[in-house]
């Protein structure tokens, strides 16, 4: 048994850290050198001296955080070395540019899954199975009650929700980066053919996706002084941060919905305050996490993000997988 200081990757000050390479993974505070799995702001922090990511992630980060950030980029699958450790990015299927990161040192393989999903998503590269000895996985939806429906079923439900209330403006709340573009892509394949508006923060990300070659429908940037009649029967994509407070007063006769994996639970749906919830997620569901653990052939698993107590116990009992606990 190794002590936790002897693992290639471990927790230091609440963040994942590889001491041999002196490099941090998605650190929550400024450090010298940081590997970034994807461009969501809970995985990126300002002020690091140097960032390393995929090309797409770098572009999305710069679009959101400004140009004068130093980011070194690599292609998926391209190996690079830091202090003798081989490192490479692999698609994780979460959002455009998102990646798993593999480390190889002294014939020992480590894989950080990053945020991932297995479901098909036309707006980013499909999750790639990567073999490893040690797996550090996310566990956002680590209970068997979470099972995602096919994406096109959810898209059709959304389409029906809009078209059933032609006199209303349908406000759909979703994360600006990733979820919004995926929804946009899927909804444009449904029967709903009305106008789609998006909030500035989403509009900006849409453009970025398009520049990176993702084929998504054009939307109209929402202006606060839009005529109410124009919006009747349309879909408006908004970030969740605007769901509470005075912003909604800009609209009349609305119905609201939230697109998130948590919406599969009735109590959470009711408590959320939205009229409706669509259970669609960019994270893996229970079966997805189990599949990745199995196919990665990892013998040792460590969970990072989310409540992993139940999943850990299940894996130990049912699959005889060794669960590591690094502490924080």
């Amino acid at each position: 048994m190794r002590t936790k200081e002897e693992y290639l990757i471990r927790y230091k000050d609440g963040n994942l850290y590889c001491e041999l390479a002196d490099i941090w993974i998605d650190p929550s505070k400024p450090v010298k050198k940081a590997l970034i799995t994807h461009a969501h702001f809970d995985h990126f922090t300002f002020g690091c001296e140097e960032y390393i990511s995929t090309k797409e992630t770098a572009i999305l980060i710069k679009e959101r955080a400004g140009d004068n950030i130093k980011i070194k980029t690599f292609e998926y699958g391209e190996e690079f070395k830091i202090n003798g450790i081989k490192i490479s990015f692999h698609p994780s299927g979460h959002i455009l540019g998102s990646s798993q990161i593999r480390f190889i040192f002294a014939e020992e393989k480590w894989l950080i899954s990053g945020d991932f999903k297995l479901q098909k998503d036309e707006t980013c590269k499909q999750y790639e199975i990567v073999k490893t000895d040690y797996l550090i996985s996310e566990c956002t939806f680590g209970l068997p009650i979470f099972k995602w429906d096919e994406t096109n079923k959810i898209a059709n439900d959304i389409s029906k929700w809009i078209t059933n209330s032609p006199e209303k403006t349908s406000l759909l709340f979703c994360y600006s980066l990733g979820k919004a573009q995926r929804l946009l892509y899927e909804i444009s394949k449904t029967n709903f053919k009305g106008n789609i508006y998006s909030h500035g923060s989403i509009y900006k990300m849409n453009n970025c996706y398009k520049e990176l070659g993702i084929d998504i429908k054009d939307t109209i940037k929402i202006e606060s002084k839009k005529k109410i009649d124009e919006l009747k029967g349309s879909l408006v994509l908004l970030p969740p941060s605007l769901s509470k407070g005075s912003y909604l007063k800009n609209f009349k006769n609305i119905q609201t919905a939230f697109a998130s994996g948590w919406m599969s639970i009735r109590a959470l749906r009711k408590r959320s305050g939205y009229d409706k919830g669509f259970a669609i997620s960019d994270h893996a569901d229970w079966d997805g996490i189990l599949e990745v653990i199995k196919k990665s052939e990892a013998k040792n698993v460590f969970f990072h993000h989310g409540d992993s107590e139940a999943l850990s116990k299940y894996l130990v009992e049912k699959e005889s997988i060794n669960i590591l606990f690094f502490g924080k």
């Binding site: 209970l143 009650i145 009735r266 959470l268």
Partner: protein, 546 residues
């Protein structure tokens, strides 16, 4: 029509906040479905019955057994979801691979009048097999409804009022009439639905049914601007609100919860049936101390409530009384539209004689509610403060000119409750909530000091705002000492003001006291745990009151 339609209706109602939308959805459901299915839908949606065919625990065990899930994993899921029927529904997703969904066209009527009643008669093995079979042959969208009906947890945000409104709009008949038709027992049948939507109003048909109850609102400051002479004052008794009906010789006792309780109180039915007149009285049923002419504690009434056909000795041990507040109908004449002060005159005219006359004496079980006559509002306040002395909860204030309409109508009747008793206590345990509060720690236990020790004295669930609940939930997760299943013991740090209605000695509790209706009235962030009250304070409070 099929169960699918009802599942859709449930889903629609569940995801709508606007009352108007809900009414529209209900209307179109009633229009497009068979009367028999409509009557079942009303039966389920109004919660007329929540009969439990099997327990949530049973359902979870069965699922674990069939699909080889560890029990603890299902329990963990339950903590997040808060409803057994929903947990099983979520876990069943993609599990039932059978492509033959033979039951995809089963009707609501067939499910409720045949399948489920038959299922509940089977022995355990057959029952398990049948439930598994239902899971496999019902379309996935219907699992939730099926599981909820089985476990008797069918609740959705639809009130009787909403059903009343939709039916009223559907056939263009006054809500009052529909509401009256919906009172009391509702046995699902083609006839009961047809009766509900009958466009001809036949008062005879409503004979055995109570009128919709008129309810009081919490007092508002603006009332004090009015002259005290505009109002009638009564004590607010803590019993069972009831309509006592005698029509065509038959007596029926209906509670506000629309239950017929004749069997629990046969002595009242017997006595009242000797009165010559027909009538509908609104009043309160209590266990009464006849020697001191004062209401007994609600706990004594509880000994009678759920006991059908009570023995003679029970009847003597817990003697009941009906206190009449109001007369709504006399000898077939509906007088709800006349003013309260005039109804009171009628009430006294017909019933004071029954209290005195020897040949028809009912004074050992019946009493007209005494009125109180405060001189002015400060005097009314003094009466209110005294209400604990005669075991009442405060005052009921009624506008003398009010007619007897239905529901919690604003601006005519008020309740003026005595200020609650309060103690500052320390939060020591928290438990996960269920239903809407699943996944949050919302059930709390509070303690008082005894020497250097904190002794649990009450549990409370209500009183915090949603924002406070979330904040406290976060704190609870960070300050857990130990977990026992769903319960966490907590670092004693947080002080809350707990209000309650009654305090009494209890041998069943470690603290030696029991309180009624405890609730959180303030998060005392300004207080340290040493500032919290002690059990001695609680005993003092008890002494002061008795």
């Amino acid at each position: 029509m099929s169960l699918n339609k009802f599942s859709e209706l449930f889903c629609d109602l569940d995801s709508m906040n606007s009352t108007n939308n809900k009414i529209e959805v209900l209307k179109s459901y009633f229009l497009s479905n068979e009367p028999i299915d409509n009557s079942w839908a009303i039966y389920l949606l109004t919660g007329k019955s929540n009969k439990r065919f099997i327990s949530g625990r049973y359902l979870k065990n069965l699922f674990a057994q069939i699909y080889k899930y560890p029990q603890w994993l299902i329990d963990t899921c339950y903590l997040k979801v808060g409803d057994s029927a929903e947990v099983i529904t979520l876990l069943l997703k993609n599990k039932t691979t059978s492509r033959h969904k033979e039951l995809s066209n089963i009707s609501l009527n067939e499910l409720l009048s045949k399948t489920i009643p038959e299922l509940s008669k089977l022995n355990e093995k057959e029952k398990n097999f049948k439930i598994k079979n239902m899971w496999e042959t019902l379309p996935e969208d219907n699992h939730l409804i099926f599981n909820k009906i089985l476990t008797g947890t069918f609740r959705v945000g639809v009130s009787i009022g909403l059903i009343t409104k939709s039916i009223s709009k559907l056939i263009n008949i006054d809500e009052e009439i529909i509401s009256h038709r919906l009172m009391g027992n509702f046995e699902p049948s083609i006839d009961s639905y047809k009766f509900l939507v009958n466009k001809n109003i036949n008062l005879q048909e409503l004979n055995s049914k109570p009128f919709p109850f008129l309810l009081a609102n919490t007092i508002e400051d603006k009332i004090f601007k009015h002259s005290i002479n505009d109002f009638q004052f009564e004590w607010k008794y803590d019993g069972i609100r009831m309509q006592l009906i005698k029509r065509s010789g038959n007596v029926s006792l209906w509670t506000r919860g629309q239950e017929l309780v004749n069997e629990s109180f046969p002595e009242l039915v017997e006595k009242m049936s000797h009165i010559k007149d027909d009538f509908v009285l609104d009043g309160e049923l209590l266990v009464w101390n006849f020697k001191e002419q004062i209401a007994c504690d609600f706990s004594l009434l509880q000994k009678r409530i759920n006991r059908k056909s009570p023995t003679r000795s029970i009847q003597i041990k817990y003697p009941i009384i009906f206190i009449a507040y109001d007369l709504l109908e006399i000898n077939g004449r509906d007088i709800r539209e006349i003013k309260l002060e005039n109804r009171r005159i009628e009430l006294e005219k017909y019933f004071s004689k029954c209290q005195n006359k020897t040949e028809n004496n009912i004074s050992d079980i019946f009493k007209i509610c005494d009125l109180i006559f405060p001189k002015d509002w400060p005097d009314a306040l003094t009466y209110k403060e005294k209400s604990r002395e005669n075991n009442t909860e405060g005052l009921i204030i009624k506008k003398k000119t009010s007619i007897y309409s239905s529901g919690r109508k604003k601006g005519i009747w008020w309740k003026y409750k005595v200020d609650p008793m309060q103690l500052d206590a320390v939060l020591i345990y928290a438990k996960g909530g269920s239903g809407r509060r699943a996944g949050l720690y919302t059930d709390y236990s509070f303690a008082l000091w005894k020497d250097q020790e904190l002794i649990k004295f009450a549990s409370a669930y209500s009183g915090l705002t949603n924002i406070e609940i979330k904040e406290l939930d976060k704190w609870i997760r960070k300050n857990t000492i130990e977990k026992f299943g769903p319960v966490r013991s907590l670092k004693p740090e947080m002080v809350f003001e707990i209000s309650f209605e009654k305090i009494q000695i209890s041998k069943r509790h470690k603290s030696g006291i029991a309180v009624r209706f405890p609730r959180i009235t303030k998060w005392r962030k300004d207080k340290k745990i040493n500032d919290a009250d002690s059990l001695d304070n609680a005993y003092e409070l008890m002494k002061k009151i008795s």
